[in-house]
């Protein structure tokens, strides 16, 4: 590695897909490479949040010196840790690969084409578990998914930190706060200017619309910044961000604000996209899945049709109660396609309420393929494209049911 030509070296170092194994030989190249520090010492890829900080850190890099390179104690300790981590991971990966092959043999499948999905299936089959929490059930995953990633070294060979906010302990977090503040100041300045020039009408309608999204959760923010943020700091983040979002010109910073928010409509809008298939005879068909409670349904809608409804090979009498038949009527009334399409639904698991709900969701999703945007929005507004997240609430220990407590007895 040390004998790479400068050109190849640069190409290699700039690439985002850095190998996750440590390349300690890089340290000898330090004096003639400027941009490599961030990644060179890393044994895990740099987190997203750090990209924005990269520019700031570059400037503070040490100039190449004529002195012999002395490695600081901090760096030495870091290198030892990194080596230990890497050795552990190597062993884990080897174990994982062998385990995967064993598993494939047990299941009677080809070990070479055995994927992670196959592993999950095999584990579920061989070690069935009825533990309520899915996280507590047996798993076999890639070690890099199981063991938490560690931050790459934040300081150079001489022990000097790259980041100007290194000593705040949470450099990414605090530089984000800085960014928010400066953006807010810029907006204020722009507002002042508009006011001074009496162009107030330009300010109208430039407020950020917060209705369809919410701030990243504490957990998501932690992952994004790769820093251990406490609730107090998270609340500070939300306060600052809300101050920015409430500014009359905050729409100008839409992109920045949205990078710290998560959209709530994504699920509804995504599910609304359905592919149309054309069958023989020019008949169009859309297929969609729906779930409710523990029921799953696959619904096929054909157009043109005459209003036929087939559920698991039966007609609408599959549901003996009228309420469930009326439930299935709702998507047709909203979309205005009653009597114009044929429906075939396969539904399994659960009781009639769940099954009717699952078919209704699948049906609504499939119907969106045949209607225009206006009607689609109407279907969304009537909640037909939302998956009902309500499930049976679990029974709690020490209680009679999910909420009900045992009758109180004094003794």
């Amino acid at each position: 590695m040390a004998v790479l030509s400068p050109w190849t070296r640069r190409m290699f170092l700039k690439g985002n897909n850095m190998p996750s194994r440590p390349v300690f030989t890089f340290f000898f190249l330090k004096q003639n490479t400027d941009s490599c520090h961030k990644h060179a010492c890393g044994f895990s890829t740099a987190p997203e949040g750090e990209d924005m900080l990269l520019n700031a850190s570059k400037k503070t890099q040490n100039k190449p010196t004529a002195k012999a390179v002395t490695i600081s104690r901090a760096m030495k300790a870091y290198m030892e840790q990194a080596k230990a981590y890497d050795d552990k991971m190597k062993a884990e990966v080897a174990d994982y690969e062998i385990g995967k092959r064993h598993l494939a043999n047990i299941m009677g499948e080809d070990p070479d084409s055995f994927t992670q999905a196959d592993v999950d299936r095999a584990i579920e089959y061989l070690l069935p578990s009825s533990i309520y929490d899915k996280k507590a059930r047996p798993i076999m995953k890639d070690p890099y998914e199981v063991f938490p990633k560690k931050k790459a070294a934040q300081f150079g060979l001489d022990g000097r930190p790259y980041h100007w906010m290194y000593f705040t302990i949470l450099p990414n977090y605090y530089s984000m706060l800085y960014e928010i503040t400066w953006k807010l100041e810029a907006l204020k300045e722009a507002e002042d200017q508009l006011r001074a020039e009496r162009r107030l009408e330009e300010m109208e309608g430039q407020v950020f619309n917060a209705a369809s999204s919410e701030w990243l959760s504490l957990h998501a923010l932690k992952t994004k910044l790769v820093e251990n943020i406490k609730e107090k700091e998270y609340n500070h983040f939300v306060t600052m961000m809300e101050r920015l979002a409430a500014h009359p010109l905050s729409g100008r910073e839409q992109e920045f604000i949205m990078s710290w928010r998560i959209s709530l409509q994504a699920e509804q809008l995504e599910s609304a996209v359905q592919e149309l298939e054309v069958e023989e005879g020019g008949r169009m068909c859309a297929t969609a899945k729906g779930t409710r409670k523990s029921s799953n349904a696959i619904v096929k809608v054909y157009k043109p049709g005459s209003g036929n409804f087939i559920i698991n090979g039966k007609d609408l009498t599959y549901f003996t109660q009228n309420m469930y038949r009326e439930t299935l009527l709702l998507p047709f009334i909203v979309s205005g396609l009653l009597g114009k399409v044929d429906v075939e639904a396969d539904v399994e698991m659960g009781g009639p309420t769940g099954q009717a709900g699952a078919i209704r969701l699948g049906l609504s999703r499939a119907l969106t393929a045949f209607v225009d945007e206006d009607v689609k929005e109407k279907m969304r507004l009537s909640g037909l494209l939302t998956k009902d997240p309500r499930k049976k609430e679990r029974k709690k220990p020490g209680q009679e049911g999910a909420r009900r407590k045992f009758t109180w007895k004094k003794r």
Partner: protein, 231 residues
């Protein structure tokens, strides 16, 4: 689901333990819904849906809750008051049975009114007879709705019954509850649908137990009007 409970109790306890007086201890609002608080109720109103919401309506950008199984906008099969009434009558989740009772109730009313209609001799009499059971039901509920209710206010250790304006949802709830309760009190041998038929026809004519109950509440409010400023 357990999480909100845990945080709720620990927070409340913390507030108490810190030595604040109990009266000032404000309990945090517990969010028990599975939905994110950003989700809003679905638009289930045929007129609004056909017309479409206004451009500036915030609901265009908000995530929407899924309608429950018994919600609909079908003008043929669905009426919100009837749904509420059916659900209020339900015991231990036996919806199939109460829906059957409601169906029979409307059938009985229809039979009764059509019989009257056929027996009527003049056109004038006939025009007076309402044959739509849903209209009769709605008018009956309307007749039982109280304008005022009592709330209990403790002031200086004395509890006062203070009359206040009833909210529309509260009015509907009270009216339906009185109708159902008055039928539950009656003879047990008679099927519920028959008792309901009589009660609703009585209420339609501004008579019967439920209407009397409403008048009684109004009377109490009237006698306690001196406390009205306490609310």
């Amino acid at each position: 689901m357990a999480a909100p409970f845990v945080s709720f109790t620990s927070k409340a306890l913390g507030t108490i333990l810190r030595g604040q007086p109990l009266t000032k201890c404000v309990f945090p609002k517990v969010h028990l819904s599975v939905y994110n608080p950003k989700y809003v109720e679905p638009v289930l109103d045929k007129d609004t849906l056909t017309k479409g919401l206004e451009d500036g309506d915030a609901r265009h950008h908000m995530p929407i809750k899924a309608p429950t199984t018994d919600l609909s906008i079908s003008p043929l099969f669905y009426d919100d008051d009837v749904r509420k009434f059916t659900n209020m009558m339900m015991k231990t989740g036996n919806k199939e049975r109460v829906r059957e009772i409601t169906r029979k109730l409307f059938e009985n009313i229809k039979h009764m009114q059509v019989e009257k209609y056929n027996k009527a001799t003049t056109d004038e009499e006939r025009s007076q007879i309402e044959c739509n059971p849903i209209t009769i039901f709605k008018t009956a509920v309307e007749n039982c709705k109280p304008l005022l209710t009592n709330i209990r206010v403790v002031k200086g250790g004395v509890a006062y019954r203070v009359p206040v304006c009833a909210r529309p949802s509260d009015q509907r709830f009270r009216a339906m509850k009185w109708i159902i309760e008055s039928c539950r009190d009656k003879e047990r041998r008679i099927p519920m649908e028959n008792k309901l038929t009589w009660e609703i026809m009585d209420a339609y004519n501004n008579q019967g137990k439920a209407v009397r109950k409403k008048q009684e509440v109004h009377r109490i409010c009237e006698s306690n009007r001196a406390y009205a400023h306490l609310r």
